[in-house]
Symmetry: C2
Subunit: 414 residues, 2 copies
């Protein structure tokens, strides 16, 4: 029996439900797999168009040459290629999968600020519309644990590659202390601060998440292949927007950084040179309403100048932290804003039924749509959608615009 | 010819002017000399009474046993002793003098927040009414340059005695850089950060000021006698509220710290342990409306924990600084609030005539008094006082309460 062609699959996808039993329909996953290879993340125009027409229709339009000119220009010759099935199989062979927004394990709440930013980042003078704050089309994930549960209580620990012994010591200590207290450390797997933080978490026997700028079957830097393998063995995850085999092109690191900020409750900068990438990551986290925490260092160290610059910005909102307890105090308070104090900060989604969660995920951010349309996207009976929407509205998760349903805007930042 | 007795001198003082040619009347200076030995600074009740009746009447009442009971209790047996002339002569022999509020070189503007605090600190629950924020009765000064001009552009650099090599390096560097840029470094002459800052200024050939908790003819710590001598030789000053020969009693250091904060535009804390004296000094500076600047350090260093605590206080107003340029940027802005940007920050007093300055210094903080009373205190003709008061009011330096003249309240903090 031969596998269905992409076009056959897409045909099926339009007819069937988007997800069954918490898992996206296979054809929908295949469409998103195709998009992760054909499109480069970070384009706000492309993301909005895909969000508007849906991934299946977007793939069909791109392959048929009927997509908007701008979208066709961005995809180029890749529109005629299809490695979607091969990519999914290649992922499977290395213990990876593609997680898509239609899956239960999609970290929808954490990524919500990226969705809002993609819809509201309307500044026509925006410098670079190809590194914009847009959500990923899907996330390739290597490792067993569900993505959402792993990053629910997570903190990014980032910093300079050319770190000092002091910075590496602090990063490893933070990684271990955060891990011991049940927090997941997310970082980029790079030399220096990143890998020190991952290693600290590993040493504490805690899961840690590496967000890569290349395929999850690759190791970049190559010297970290053993560390990455141990992370997967120890219940951690390797995560990437790019399909298996993708190369770590230079500009992808900048694009990747928004995922590190987006998946986590806060970003801790351990060492950063003046005007450095770590500072840029911190500013992105701040722009997404996430906590920016900064570890100071000797004023005589060039690797702390960027940290001190962040702390000196009068309106930057960066907070000085010296240990894991102070980090948890800062990111924990965000959780308190959302829910009553609990042993383990829960999300408002926790109590939702499977259907309610799917209807919630189907809600658009800006323009309200009918319950029928939501039911079609959520893959449920329209009557079921009508039944769960009032409860979602009471929980402040969705709102009625007068003409349709949409996601409720995020709460005021604390 | 024998010197006049204290009582003869005081008799004269009541008859003559308070100051002549910018210098306090000798008898007034003698009265204040007596007070610096008989009273321990830091008592808000005693200071208010002296301010109310004037130093000469205060000395007479204390010696005659007619002072209020509380004042008599605080002075005790010292009321019957008189070493005022001996103290003034002893000071003269070591190149020192007593600077009093009636002198032109009195740093009235810098100490103004202490005067305000002494008048307004009315909290009856105030923990310790003997370490209150009150101005000094007089300041014993060793070294040639006038006090006011030396501290006009000054910054306090304070920190731990048990400093690290890192902290001493930073303090010495700040001392040198501030000195090179025309700023006077004020500190307490202690081991560790204090003396490193003084030495940095010395190395830059810049004047530096040591505020001692003992007589200016003594060296505490003894190991710093050579440094203190070099400071005086290099155009710096040793300053103390206590008369020559006074011992550095433990509680005097706490009382002394308010003078370090009071004389300067801002306080830089270089290293401080958790819950340390340097933190207390910083909070006092903040309470006086002076800038609090903090140098961070490794989070692994116990000597930086206090610095980081200051920077983490949400409403503390402490600012992180990493070098002298950032210090000057912070304290310089205070000057900008007062005057138009200038090569050298000027004070509103700069353009005043000698008479106007004396009338201004004679103005009380709280209860307005008549121009006649001001003239008596200022040692000028009442008509002269009446002539200069409108100009002082236009310059926002004094105000008419409806029944008398008093100092205008300090401007809103920036």
């Amino acid at each position: 029996m031969t596998a269905p062609t992409l076009d056959e699959d897409l045909e099926d996808a339009l007819a069937g439900p988007a997800a069954v039993g918490g898992s996206a329909a296979p054809a929908l996953r295949r469409a998103r797999a195709w998009l992760t290879r054909a499109t480069e993340p970070g384009s706000v125009d492309l993301w909005r168009w895909i969000d508007d027409v849906g991934p299946v229709a977007a793939v069909r339009a791109l392959r048929a040459g009927t997509a908007p000119e701008q979208a066709r220009a961005l995809v180029g010759a890749r529109a005629g290629e299809d490695a979607s099935l091969a990519d999914l199989r290649r992922a499977d062979r290395c213990g990876a999968r593609l997680v898509v927004p239609e899956d239960d394990e999609w970290p929808a709440l954490a990524l919500h600020p990226l969705t809002v930013a993609a819809h509201t980042g309307d500044d026509p003078g925006q410098r670079d519309r190809t590194t914009a704050l847009v959500p990923p089309v899907g996330l390739w994930v290597r490792g067993d644990p569900p993505l959402q549960a792993t990053v629910d209580r997570s903190v990014a620990v980032v910093g300079a590659r050319a770190s000092t012994a002091y910075g590496e010591h602090v990063a490893a200590d933070l990684g271990a202390q955060l891990g011991e207290r049940g927090w997941t450390v997310v970082s980029g797997g790079a030399h220096g601060i990143d890998v020190a933080a991952h290693r600290g978490a590993l040493a504490a026997g805690a899961p840690t998440v590496v967000v890569l700028a290349c395929g999850v079957d690759r190791s970049y830097p190559a010297a970290h292949s053993a560390v990455f393998a141990r992370i997967v063995d120890a219940g951690g995850l390797l995560v990437s927007e790019w399909p298996p085999g993708a190369a770590p092109h230079r500009h992808r690191f900048l694009v990747r950084n928004r995922i590190i900020a987006g998946l986590t409750r806060g970003t801790v900068v351990v060492e950063a040179a003046a005007r450095s990438g770590a500072q840029a990551t911190a500013r992105r986290a701040s722009g997404l309403g996430k906590q920016v925490l900064v570890v100071p260092g000797p004023v005589t160290s060039a690797m702390s100048v960027g940290c001190h610059e962040l702390l000196r910005e009068p309106e930057g909102g960066a907070r000085l932290v010296g240990n894991a307890a102070q980090v948890i105090e800062a990111v924990g308070s965000l959780g308190d804003d959302l829910v009553a104090p609990a042993e383990r900060p829960a999300s408002p989604r926790d109590g939702l039924s499977d259907v309610a969660r799917r209807v919630l995920d189907a809600c658009p951010v800006r323009t309200g749509v009918s319950a029928e349309r939501l039911a079609a996207v959520a893959g449920c009976d329209p009557l079921e959608a009508v039944r769960v929407l009032p409860a979602l509205e009471l929980a402040d998760l969705v709102q009625w615009t007068g003409t349709g349903w949409r996601l409720a805007p995020p709460r005021e930042r604390g």
